[in-house]
Symmetry: C2
Subunit: 412 residues, 2 copies
């Protein structure tokens, strides 16, 4: 037993022993199967299943460095943050995050519900699966976790205590560098642009001074605007889906930041899926249907976010001055402006920076990948520069049409 | 000796014993004179002097409630905050804060330099004294303490650590209530407006919905904008002056907030002094000279703040994206906009709210006080509503002229 009294990076067999001996989650006699299933950048994820298939468990352990590169030294505190956030999110948005069974500050790991009956959304969308309830679920998750942690609703002292608990310097630094800085200037010389688009990226990003200025304003918003407790990494690789269920995972980037950061990440990653379908599926009804589903989902995410936000605002706002005439609209306008800006930033950084997405990198044919990337980058620029005027789902759909029209597929 | 091992609220004699026995600041044989000199709202200030006049010391102890009212229960942590901030400010702006000799977390008191050879600036200005170096000193203090603690200069992780150290819920709540909320709606029914102006205040503040909306936007900026480590209470009662020296005291309200909060407080409190002189001094050369000195000081505070900020920005900025073309101007513009907004808020709350200033309350003759208050409130409204266009010292002087013209003294 003493083997878990000091931190070490577990192997799958250690995790199984841990689940049995330390957590007593399984019978002592249980015949356990175990495997490492992590494909993210930061942690090790062990799935442990009772051979009779009755019980299963996931254990997530933090390593000292990112799996993507030793350059990123990370505080082990992130798993404590993850555990605390999952508990909080569960209260605010029941059913939309995995159950958590415990956090071990020594082994720096967290035991949680096994979601093997769900799929990671990014992969599922690449397999052309549809999730008709996703927009409904994710907008409830975002509106509840964001608005209910804001100063509009929460007692300001309680909010300040949460700000203090979730100051998250290491993970924020990753975002500050990879999302807000390097895509626009490659200052650390570690961007990984697709070669044939290098000139395009140089001209359209690195040399566009007006765009750079807007990206800098957005970076300072991220650095200083302690508005809501954001998830901080809400892309389709952080979301597990089943047709009837949506579970948001991996909140280790959580901190008090601009609400639009989460919404913009969801929007941008739906755009990646749409661009993939539009670029790679053969012309025909299947493509129409699937890209239509994605466009509808994108529109619903924006519009349901707005309508649910307004409803919850009317129900829950406690701050006196937030009831003044005109304030609710002004506040939501700001969230939507940040949403558009972050949509643009995420669209850039996944094309240009160090951390790509499979929606784009899986496009094998160079001419198609070229088209997909240029489509994303031209959308990104408009989202950033025109962020004050993107206010509805329809506004985003019109941008998609505009961008697709500018970069035709070259089909007959 | 054991008497200082547990917290109790000291009397002057206790403080003298503390200085001798616990701090060993004086000889055991020293004949000490001691007195309580605090006139602020929150703390007890003891001055202890060696009868031979060779050494002196100030001890500042925090009570559990504000002296102004038992309603304000305050964390004793504020003296720890004050001590840490004074040390930090001393590094950033040498010579412009008192020396601190130590902090005692048990007795919750702080020993510091005796500034009895200085005067509290508010009182000194009411005595028509001039401080020709004040603008120079206070702008150095503000530019250094604000810009050097911002994300433009400071490593972002170090900045986040400071944010965490100076989350200051109790003191921030006082400001949120007294500056940003109650002057516009008297929601807690504890405003103390001057009777003859009650109707004016009702019409010009409580019923002006456009003004209310702007005040709410500014409140959320205060609640969420972790831009710089602000002093948080930089009025002329927190500043000790001598003709050749300026010392900023009482940083217990410090937290990460909008830089303009400090600048706006200095500007507004110079306006109170100007309004007092303009309203109460008899027509003639003395009034011209003194109100001219105050107007010049106000203009210099704004303009020197701007020029020193730009110079220090060019020298010290480390954040890559803050070097993009146009960013420095955009950032400073935001600080100046907040400055104007806070100037307006401070002008309102000292007239309408629970905490008044002697510059106004000392005006005995009702018609004059009426005039002084209306002048301040009409200035306040323009500062809040037109905050985006107040960019130079001259802009403020023109507002002063406009307001004085609207409310003539009624002299021949």
């Amino acid at each position: 037993m003493a083997r878990f009294d000091a931190y070490f990076l577990m192997k799958p067999a250690d995790a199984a022993a841990y689940a049995k001996e330390k957590l007593a989650y399984f019978d002592r006699e249980a015949d356990l199967q175990f495997t490492e299933i992590g494909d993210g950048n930061l942690n090790y994820i062990f799935r442990i299943v009772d051979a009779r298939g009755r019980r299963s468990l996931v254990i997530k352990q933090a390593g000292h460095t990112a799996r993507i590169s030793d350059e990123f030294k990370l505080s082990l505190d992130r798993n404590r943050i993850e555990y605390d956030i999952l508990k909080l999110e569960r209260e605010l948005a029941p059913g939309l995050v995995p159950e958590v069974y415990g956090f071990d500050p020594v082994m720096n790991c967290c035991a949680m519900e096994d979601l093997s009956d769900h799929l990671i959304m990014r992969q599922a969308l690449l397999e052309r699966r549809e999730y008709p309830l996703f927009a409904e679920h994710i907008t409830t998750f975002m509106v509840n976790t964001l608005l209910l942690t804001s100063d509009a609703v929460l007692d300001h002292k309680r909010k300040k205590a949460l700000v203090g608990s979730f100051i998250n310097p290491d993970l924020c630094e990753i975002t500050e560098d990879l999302v807000y800085t390097e895509p626009f200037n490659d200052v650390k010389l570690r961007n990984l642009p697709f070669g044939p688009n290098l000139e395009f990226i140089k001209r359209e990003l690195y040399e566009d001074e007006a765009l750079l200025l807007e990206s800098a304003k957005l970076k300072f918003d991220f650095l200083t605007h302690a508005q809501c407790l954001v998830h901080g990494d809400l892309h389709t690789g952080s979301i597990f889906v089943r047709p009837d269920s949506t579970k948001v995972i991996d909140p280790e980037f959580a901190f008090y930041g601009p609400a639009g950061y989460d919404v913009g990440n969801v929007v941008a990653n739906l755009i990646f899926a749409w661009v993939n379908a539009d670029t790679t599926m053969p012309a025909g009804r299947a493509r129409e249907a699937f890209s239509g589903y994605l466009a509808r989902t994108l529109e619903e995410v924006v519009d349901l976010f707005i309508s649910k936000w307004r409803r919850l605002w009317d129900e829950k706002v406690t701050e006196t001055v937030a009831r003044y005439r005109g304030f609710a609209a002004w506040y939501l306008d700001g969230v939507l402006e940040d949403t558009a800006g972050v949509t643009g930033l995420e669209l850039c950084r996944r094309i240009v920076g160090i951390a790509h997405v499979k929606d784009i990198t899986s496009i094998a044919e160079p001419a198609r990948r070229l088209r997909a990337e240029r489509l994303c980058l031209s959308l990104a620029k408009r989202c950033i520069r025109e962020r004050a005027s993107l206010k509805t789902g329809r506004d985003y759909l019109e941008l998609l049409k505009w961008a697709a029209g500018n970069y035709p597929r070259g089909e007959a």
